[in-house]
């Protein structure tokens, strides 16, 4: 197929314009803080803002917790389905797709009604338990991506032989999972983890409705009240997203999984 598509370059050029101009515009805007000329003043102000540091730190910790809980939930389940219960695979896959079907705002609406302070499980009663609820809601949001990544990783290795070899050496289930299976799907788990991080770090809806001091609601607050700082924040967030995707590419090009999509 040596035939060239006539408008190939034109389409690519238009695409590049659409995608690069907003980035350029944001970057240019973020440098306009001082009247006399370009400066990085907006970045300096943002990075020195204690609320930036607090909310960014909070969201980072929450993202790490989400990754740990997500891995603990997904890896044993996907492993067990592959090894012992292949018949349940369609059901489990369907469940992992539910977060794509149910909008995040609807999910968190349900949580607020089910786990309010006068319910059986009053998770929204205190700050610590709300953090737990928010972590679980992020695990739910990231479930489609984490599960697909891990499942693809598990399909690429011979789970049964590895398990039997470990068992014949006297390993317990916990040892098999932690020291045989997990290291073998490390690349898949890492790509799921970076994607989870990219989704969680700027998430707005759930954090805002559960009233936790996360980075997403902070971004919104700054956007509503300041002129140049939001652009600086957008550039910083874009750099973080880029770093996460870059790390996924680096950690293994063959990890597979569905196309990465964040929470809107």
């Amino acid at each position: 197929m040596k035939r060239k598509m006539p408008g190939g370059w034109l389409v690519l050029l238009l695409g590049a314009l659409y995608f690069l101009v907003p980035l350029l515009g944001t970057f240019e805007f973020s440098l306009r803080y001082r009247r006399e000329g370009y400066s990085v003043e907006a970045y300096r102000i943002v990075l020195a803002d204690p609320r930036f540091q607090a909310t960014f730190g909070y969201s980072t910790i929450l993202a790490l917790c989400t990754i740990v809980v997500g891995v603990l939930l997904v890896v044993p389940t996907a492993y067990w389905i592959q090894l012992k219960l292949p018949k349940l695979r369609p059901l489990v896959e369907f469940v992992t797709l539910l977060p794509l079907v149910i909008p995040a705002i609807v999910l968190v609406f349900g949580y607020l009604r089910m786990y309010n302070s006068s319910s059986w499980i009053p998770l929204t009663g205190s700050e610590r338990t709300t953090d737990l609820l928010l972590t679980c809601s992020y695990v739910a949001l990231a479930l489609p991506y984490m599960y697909r990544a891990v499942d693809t990783g598990l399909r690429a290795i011979d789970v049964r032989t590895l398990t039997e070899a470990a068992q014949s050496l006297g390993a317990s289930w916990a040892t098999i999972l932690a020291r045989v299976i997990l290291p073998n799907v490390r690349v898949a788990v890492l790509s799921g983890a970076f994607l989870t991080f990219a989704i969680v770090i700027g998430e707005f809806t759930m954090a805002s409705l559960l009233d936790r001091p996360a980075f997403g609601p902070y971004l919104q607050l700054i956007g509503a009240n300041r002129a140049y700082e939001p652009s600086a924040l957008a550039i910083i967030t874009f750099a973080i997203t880029w770093a996460c995707m870059g790390l996924i590419q680096l950690s293994g090009r063959r990890a597979g999984g569905p196309p990465p999509v964040g929470a809107r």
């Binding site: 035939r3 598509m5 190939g8 389409v11 690519l12 695409g15 659409y18 995608f19 907003p22 350029l24 515009g25 944001t26 240019e28 805007f29 389940t77 067990w80 219960l85 292949p86 469940v95 797709l97 539910l98 794509l100 079907v101 149910i102 909008p103 995040a104 705002i105 609807v106 999910l107 968190v108 609406f109 349900g110 607020l112 009604r113 679980c136 809601s137 695990v139 739910a140 049964r160 998430e203 707005f204 809806t205 409705l209 971004l219 919104q220 956007g223 939001p230 652009s231 957008a234 967030t237 874009f238 997203t241 880029w242 996460c244 995707m245 196309p259 990465p260 999509v261 964040g262 809107r264």
Partner: protein
């Protein structure tokens, strides 16, 4: 496929039944999680949609959805999602096709796919900031057009905080998503098919009409529906961009959760139920069409 062979030998060669009956224990944590954080909260809303404040069964909430303000917010959401999905699907497809099969240099394809991975995740509040800085009243492009051509976008009727502005902004994550999902489908169009069609005397149009499109349409339509559902459930970008001046249904629901603006909790549940129905239907269709599309991929 070796893995399926393995699995069949596995099912026949399993240990005695007494051990199989305990195997389900291993997936209990997963299903407890799914119940607690996906299924029960959604069911709670779905049931609440059919109850009145005293808990009696009623259809009144669903009927109450058909009042002008709520219908208008569903309508604007459907319009924004539809426009950004169709626009994103068309442009994303052309972009992916140009990069993969358009005879462009080798480096274009991996660059486009990597960038799409990033851009499809660059959504939410920061995306709104980026478009405000670009196409807002003092944005780079707005200012450039005035200085270079004396053309004022906003006098010409454009407004970023409107239906078209929001659709244009959503396309920033819709187009890359389309590129990422369509790339494997375009890879699946084998060179032999085009060559065979050409040998038989087919024109480019006939190749597309009788070979390429029949193979691609389930992916095209399915992915468009996925993009639609993706935009329909979105809120952060719209909220940061327009505040509450553009009353899409997610923003109405956000206000309802915050402060019961509809003055009826159960009507809020019905509002949520309507959203689940719409995203559920388009996602179900997407999954069905994806199944059809995969027949042609090795």
């Amino acid at each position: 496929m070796p893995s399926s062979v393995l699995r069949t030998t596995a099912t026949t060669g399993l240990p005695p039944p007494s051990r199989i009956s305990w195997a389900w224990v291993g997936v209990v944590p997963f299903f407890v999680f799914a119940l607690m954080f996906l299924i029960l909260p959604t069911s709670f809303l779905a049931i609440g949609a059919f109850q009145d404040a005293a808990g009696r069964l009623t259809l009144q909430n669903v009927l109450d959805l058909f009042q002008p303000t709520i219908l208008a917010s569903y309508a604007i959401s459907l319009k924004v999602s539809g426009a950004s999905a169709i626009g994103g699907a068309l442009l994303g497809f052309f972009l992916a096709y140009a990069a993969i099969a358009g005879g462009l240099p080798q480096w274009v394809r991996p660059t486009l796919l990597t960038f799409s991975g990033v851009a499809s995740n660059f959504a939410g509040v920061p995306l709104a900031f980026a478009f405000l800085a670009t196409l807002g009243r003092t944005g780079l492009v707005t200012a450039f057009l005035i200085q270079a051509f004396g053309f004022n976008l906003y006098r010409a009727g454009f407004n970023l905080l409107s239906f078209w502005g929001l659709a244009l902004t959503y396309m920033y994550f819709q187009i890359p998503l389309m590129v990422l999902i369509m790339a494997p489908a375009i890879d699946g169009l084998r060179r032999e098919w085009r060559e065979a069609a050409q040998n038989l005397g087919a024109s480019a149009w006939e190749y597309w009409r009788y070979v390429a499109l029949p193979v691609l349409w389930p992916s095209l339509l399915g992915t468009t529906l996925l993009l639609f559902a993706n935009a329909f459930g979105a809120i952060a970008t719209a909220y940061a961009l327009t505040g509450s001046s553009l009353n899409i249904v997610t923003i109405l629901l956000y206000a309802q959760i915050r402060g019961d603006v509809l003055h009826n909790q159960n009507l809020g549940y019905a509002l949520a139920l309507g959203m689940i129905l719409i995203t559920g239907l388009s996602n179900t269709a997407y999954i069905g069409l994806r199944g059809r599309a995969e027949r042609w991929l090795r």
